[in-house]
Symmetry: D3
C-alpha cells in the first residue's frame, strides 16, 4: 500500500514535470497569457436568451400574457448585452496580443450594442427560414414542432447570430457558436458564409457550407450537401490563402441530398441540383442538374433460392 | 460612463419595442397563448427512466439485488406515468386550440397508460435490435458496450417510444424525442416510420428514415443511408401532401453505406443494396444491387517523383 | 378519480411484473449482477481534466501565472488517476465475470498509472494534429479557434486517450469514450484504429474509421469519408470474426469528402483520393484517384421560362 | 457474497413491509392522498424573486440601468404570480379534503393577485424596518451591509410576506416560510403575529414572537427575547385553544437581550424592558423595567494565587 | 502588470510552502492518511431518503397511489443501505487507524442492515413525537404543517437516526448528523442522549441536550433549555472524563423556556420546571419548580413625560 | 379565462409601476448604481477553498498523497486570490461612490495578497482553537469529529478570515462572511472583535460577541453568552457613535451558559463567570462570579396526587 502510494506520487510528479516542459511545437501553439476563454455556460446562456428574444412564445417557459412580453424582452436583451459584452471582451483580449483590457471591453460593449440593434432584422430573417422549412415539409403542420425540434432551426439561430458577429469583426466567438450548432445538429455552416432569407435545410446531417459561400433567397438544401472549396491557393509560407473559394447559389436554388458543389462556381437562379451530384463548374439559371450515371446505373441481379 | 448607460438603455428599449411589434410573417407563425412547451429536463428524465425500465441491469446506477428489481420498476413506471402525462398534456394543449386543460389532461393520462401497457412489447423489440447489432459487429463481444455506447441503441430507444406515441395520436412529443436522438446520434428516424424487429444500424451518422417508410424484420442499414421521398405532391394551396412517399423494405434487407433509396418503391426481401447506390425503382426479392459505375470506375494515376 | 387511480395502480403493477419476467432473448442479454456501470459525469470529468492537462492554456478557466502551471498539472493528474482507477475498475468488473473487486481495482490502478505515463506522448501527438489542422484551413489564423471549437480536436482528444486504453487492455471504457466524441462531433473513430501524427479531419461529420485501420503520418480526411470493412468472415457460430479488415493509409495521404475505402487495402504514401471515390482495391504510392464518372458526368438541362 | 446479498434482500423486504403496515398512531397522522407538497426549490425561488422585487438594487445580480427596472419588476412579479399560484394551490388542496383541484387553483390565483397588490405596502414597511435597524446599530454605516447580511432583514422579509398570506387565509405556506427564516436566522416569528412599522431586532438568535402578539411601531428587540404564552386553555378534548395569549407591545417599546414576556399582557408605549427580565404582567406607558435581583446580585470572589 | 503577476506568484508559492510546513500543533491534529471524509451530499441524501421512508405521504414528491408505497419504500431502503454502508465505511476507516478497508466495509454493511432493522421502531417513536408536538401547540391544527415546517421534527429525525448509530458503535457519523440538525434548527441534541417517546420541543432555538442525558416519556422542552454538565472530572492527563454528568428527566416532565438544569440530577416524573429556572439539584416527582426571585422581582418605574 | 388574464396583466403592471415609484424612505436607502453585489456562490467557494487550505486533510475530498499537498495548496491559494480579488472589488466599488473600477480592483488585488500572506498565521490560530475545543469536551476523542461537525469551528474559520479583512480595511465582505457563519451556527461574532488564540465555544447557539470586544488567550464561552454593549452614545444627528463599548476578557477567562456581560468592562484574567450571570461592571483577575440569587433560589413545591 505504502509503496503503491509512493509510486503514484513519483509518476504524477514526473509526468507533471514532463508536461510542463513544452516541446518545440507546443511553444508555437501555446498562446501568451491573456485572460480567460469563453465560458461554455455563458455561451449556452447567450443562445438561450437569444432564443427567448426571437421566439418568446416558444422558448420562454414563463411566457404568458402578451402585454408583458415587452418587459420580458427588455430583461432578456439587457441580459444579453451583459453576457455578450463579457464573452466578446474575452475573445478580443485572447486574439489581440496588444489590446489592453479596457480597450477590449469598450470595443466589446460597442459591438454588443450594434449586434442588438440588428436583432429585429435577424428575427425577421429567421422567421422567413421557419416559413420556408414549413413550406417544404409534408410531415408537419405545426410551427411549434419545427421551432422546437428541427435541427435546421437550431443551426440557423446560431448561424444568423454568429454571422452578424463576423460582420462586426468579433473574433473567435462566431466560430465557437456555429461549431456548437454543428455538434448539436450535424450541420456545419461557417459563420462567414452569406445566406439570404427563406433558407431551408431538411434533415441536415452532414451539410457543410464554406466560409465564402454566397447563398441567395429561397434556397433549399438536403442532408449531406457540401458547398466546399475545390483546392487552396498557398501563400509563400505554404499556408492556404483565404480568398473566395466556395460556391455562389442564386435565388430559388434547390440541392438534393448528398450532392457536392466545389469551388467558386455560380449556380444560376431557379436551378435544381439532383441528389448525389458532383459539381465543380458553374450552371446557368433555370437549370436542372442530375448525375448522368445515376440514371439506370444500378446493376441488379436477382436469384430466388427457392426457385 | 453615464452617457454610455443612457445609450444602452435607449438601444435596449428601442429594440425591445421593435421585437414586440410583429411583422406580417411573425403574426402567422406566432401561436395563440396556450400553456407551456415541453420542458427539456422533463424529456431527459422521461428517456432516462425509460432506459432504466428497459435495461435495468445497464442503466440503473443503484441497481442491485434481483429480488428488488420489480420494486424499482414499479417506481420508475409510476414516475414515467406522471412525467408522460404532464408533457403530453402540454403538447395536446399546444396543438389543439379548442381543447381545454382538463380534457387534455384526461386524454394525456389515458395515452400515458396505454403507452405503459406497451412497454413489454417495446422492450422485446429493443432486445431484438440489440441482438441484431451484436450479430453484425465483429468489433465487440460485449452487450454492455453496445447498450451503453452504440448510437443506434440510443436512436432506437427514442424511436420505438416515439413511434408508439404516434400510434396513440400524441402530437409534437414524438418528433421532439426523435430529434433529440438525431442530435445525439446523427441518426434521423421520423417517428411515423414503421420498423420491424431485429433492426440494426452500424455507425449511423447521416442515416435518414422518412415518415412513411415501412421496414421489415432483420433489416440492417449502414451510415449515410437515406430512405427518402423522391418528390412531393402539392395540394391546392401549394403545400406538400402527406401521402405514402418513402420506401418499403421487406425482411432481411441490408443497405450499405451512403446509399440513397427514394420514393414509394419496394425493396424485396433478402435483398442486399451495395454502398453508394442511388435507387428510385422497386427491386424484387433475393436481389443484389450495386452501383454499376463503381465497378472499376476510379481513374488512378500514379507518378513516383523519385523515379 | 378513485377508479382512475385504481386503474393506474393495476396497469403499473401488471407492467412491472411483465417487465420483470424476462423473455428468452432478455435472459441472454442480461449481464450477471456485477457492480455499477461507468458514470456519465465521471467520464465528462475525465475528459475535462484531460483537456486541462493537455491544453492548460486553453481549457483551464482558472489558468494564470506560468509558474503555477506545474502545481495545477499535478492536481489534475492526481485527480485523473483517481477518476480513471474508479471507472476502469467498474469496467473490469463488468466485463470479467470471474474477477473479484480487489483484483480489478489493483489492475485498474496499474493501468491508470501506465496511461498517465503516456500523457506526454499523447500530448505531443495531439499538438501535431492541431498543427496539421491549422496548416490545412485557410479559414482560421488562430490556434484558440481550432482548439476550442473544431470538432476534430474533440474527436482526437477522445480517440488518442481511448486508443492508449485499448493498448493497455482496458475493456468497455475506450469505446464509450469514442462514442461520446462521435455523439458530439459526428466523427466515429474506433478506439482500436492506429493513427499516426499530424492527422487532420476537416468538418468531419460522417467520418468513419474502422477498428483495424492503420493510418500513417500527415494524413488528412474530409467530411463523410468512410474507412470501412468490405465484408465479414463468419466463424462457425455465424458471428463475424474480428480480423484485419479495414484500410491501411500510408503517410501523406489525403482523402476528399464522402469517399469510401473498404477492405484491407493499402493506399500508398503521398496519394490523393478525390471526392466521392468508391475504392475497394489497393493503390500504389504517389497516386491520384478520382471518380472516373464524375468527370463531366452531370446532365445539365437549362430552360429559361422567360425566353 | 451471495448469502450477504440474500440477507440484504430479506432485510429490505421485511422492513419495507413493516413500514408499510401503519400502526394506530400512523393511521391518525397519515393524510389522505392529495396532490403534492410545496417544493423547497419553489419556495426558495419565491423568496429570491420577492427580494428582487423589494430590493432590486441589492439582490438583482443583473440589475443595472434604472430605466429598465420596471421591466425587471414586471418579469419578477409575473414569475411570482405563477410560483405563488402553484404553491398555494398545493397547500389549499393538501389542507382541505373536500376541495377539488380547480376550485383550489382559482382560489390560489385570486390570493396570489391580492398578495401582489399588497407588495408596495409590504415594501414600504420593510424599508421602515431597514431604517430602524440602521438607526440602532453603531457598527455599520452602510445600508448594503444591513440588507445583504443582517439576519433580521431576512426574517422580516419572510414574516411580512407570510403575514399577508395569513390575512388572505392561505394555509400551510405562511408557517413554512417563517420556519425557513427561523432555520436561517434563529429568529422565530409566527406569521400570525401583527408587527408595526420601523421594527428592529439586533443579533436575533433565539427571539420568539408568538402567534397572537400585537406589536406597535418603532419597537426594538434584542437576541433571546421571548414574547410567549403563559399557559394554555384546553378545550374539551384536551387540546389547547387558539385564543389571544401573547403580549401586546405598544409603540416605542424596547426589550433588551434574553428577556421573557409571557401571556396576554400589555407593555405600554415608550417603555424599556431591561435584559433578562421575566415579565408576566402588564406595564404602563413610559415605564422602565429592570430585573431587581440583577442589580449587584453577583457574588464575586477573588483570589490571587500569586499573592 | 508583469511585475504584479510575479508578485502574485511569489506570494502564492511562499504561502503554499509555509502552509505545507506543519507546526507542532498541526502535527498533532493532522490525521494519518486514510480514505475520504463523509460527503455532505451523501449525508443530505441519507436524510432525504430517511424522511421519505418515515413520512412517505409528506416528503415523497412523487408519492401517489397507496398500493405502490411498498415499492417506493423498498427502493428507498435499498438506496439507504448503499449510502449508509458507503459513509459508515469512511467513518470507520477514518476513526480506526488499524482497520483495513475490507474489514471496515463489512462492519459498515452489517451496521447498515442492523440500523435498517430498527427503522420501524424509529418510525413509531417519531410518530409519537409528532403527536406530542401536535398536542402541545394551539397554533396549528395540521399535521402537515408540523412535519413539513417545525424545526423539532427535523431535529428529532436526525437525532433518532443518529442515536441508533451510536448504539451500533458507528463513529463520527452520528455527531455529524446531529450537528447538521443543530445548524438547521438551533437545537443541539447530542446523539448519545437517551430520549423516550412522545418528546416535544417548542420553538427550540438554543436547546442543548447533553451526551449522557436520560429523558423519559411525554417530556416537553421549550426554547433555550439547557440540560448540561455542571463540571468535568479530569483524568491524569488533564482531559475531561466521559462519565454520566447530565440530568435525568423522568416521564411527564415539562421544562419552560430558558431554564438550565446542570449535572447528574434527577427530575422526578410529572414535574414542571418554570421558565428561567437554574437547577443543579434533584427534584422529587410531582414537583413544580419556579424561580423564587422572578416572582414580582421586576423593578418598574414609570414616568409620563407629558404629565 | 381571457378576463382573468387581463386582470393579471393589469395587476402586475400597476404593482410594477408602484414599486418603481420610490417613496421618500426608499430614495434614502437606494444605493447609487454601482456594479454588482457579492455573489453567494463565490462566497461559498471562498470559504470552501479556505477550509481546504487550512485543513487539507479534513476538507479536501480528493486529498491523498502527502507529497502532492503543496501542489493542491498552490492551486487553492491561486483560486482564492482570484475569488477574493473579484468579490473585494465589488465591495469596494459598492461602498465607495467615488472609486472607479480600476482603482478598486488594484486595491482589492493588493488586499487579497496581503490576506493570503496571513494565511499561515490564521491557520496557526485556528489550530489552537481546535486544540482548545478538544481539551474542553469530554464527549469526543476525535479531531475529525470536531473539525467536520462542531459549529464553533465553522464560526471561527469565518471569523478569523473576516477579522483579517477588517484589519485590511475591506468593506462589507467581512460582515457578510460572519453573518453567513451566524446563520449556519447561531454564533454571532462581529468581525471587528479581537480574539486571542486557544479560543473555544461549546454548543454556541445564541453567543453574541460585539464589535469592540477584546478577548485574550485560552478563553472559553458556552451557549447563549452575550458580550454586548450597555448603551450607546448618540452623535448630534442622533446616530449611535461607534466607540469601544463591549467587554474586555483577559486570558484564561471562562463564561458559562447564558451569561451576559455588557459595556466596556474588563474581566480580569483567570476568572470564571458562572451561568446566567448578568454583569455590567469590571471584575479583577482570579475572580469567580456566580449569580447570588441562583443559589437555592428555586421555589420547589411537591405534591404526590397518589398520596
Amino acid at each position: 500500500m505504502q509503496s503503491q502510494i509512493a509510486e503514484i506520487e513519483r509518476t504524477v510528479s514526473r509526468v507533471a514535470t514532463a508536461l510542463n516542459t513544452p516541446g518545440k511545437l507546443e511553444q508555437h501553439i501555446m498562446p501568451s497569457w491573456r485572460g480567460s476563454m469563453p465560458a461554455p455556460e455563458a455561451l449556452r446562456d447567450i443562445v438561450d436568451q437569444f432564443k427567448i428574444v426571437l421566439f418568446p412564445d416558444f422558448f420562454d417557459q414563463l411566457r404568458g400574457c402578451r402585454s408583458m412580453t415587452e418587459a420580458r424582452l427588455t430583461v432578456s436583451i439587457e441580459r444579453l448585452y451583459r453576457l455578450l459584452t463579457a464573452e466578446m471582451t474575452k475573445c478580443m483580449v485572447a486574439s489581440d496580443e496588444s489590446a489592453d483590457d479596457d480597450t477590449a471591453r469598450t470595443r466589446a460593449s460597442s459591438c454588443a450594442l450594434s449586434l442588438i440593434e440588428r436583432f429585429p432584422e435577424i428575427k425577421r430573417m429567421l422567421y422567413t427560414d421557419v416559413q420556408a422549412i414549413y413550406d417544404n415539409d409534408p410531415a408537419t403542420e405545426d410551427y411549434s414542432e419545427i421551432i422546437l425540434s428541427y435541427p435546421v432551426v437550431q443551426a440557423m439561430i446560431h448561424y444568423r447570430l454568429a454571422h452578424e458577429m463576423v460582420k462586426l469583426g468579433v473574433p473567435l466567438l462566431p466560430r465557437i457558436l456555429t461549431e456548437l450548432a454543428h455538434s448539436l445538429t450535424g450541420i456545419d455552416i461557417n459563420p462567414g458564409a452569406t445566406i439570404g432569407e427563406y433558407f431551408a435545410i431538411d434533415h441536415g446531417t452532414g451539410v457543410v457550407i464554406g466560409e465564402t459561400c454566397i447563398i441567395g433567397k429561397h434556397v433549399t438544401l438536403y442532408q449531406g450537401v457540401t458547398l466546399g472549396a475545390k483546392n487552396f491557393t498557398l501563400d509563400r509560407e505554404g499556408r492556404p490563402v483565404n480568398i473566395p473559394r466556395h460556391p455562389v447559389l442564386e435565388d430559388n436554388v434547390t440541392v438534393y441530398a448528398n450532392s457536392t458543389i466545389l469551388g467558386r462556381v455560380t449556380i444560376g437562379h431557379d436551378t435544381i441540383i439532383g441528389g448525389n451530384v458532383w459539381l465543380t463548374e458553374s450552371v446557368p439559371a433555370y437549370s436542372r442538374v442530375t448525375q448522368h450515371h445515376y440514371q439506370n446505373s444500378n446493376r441488379i441481379t436477382t436469384h430466388n433460392p427457392n426457385s
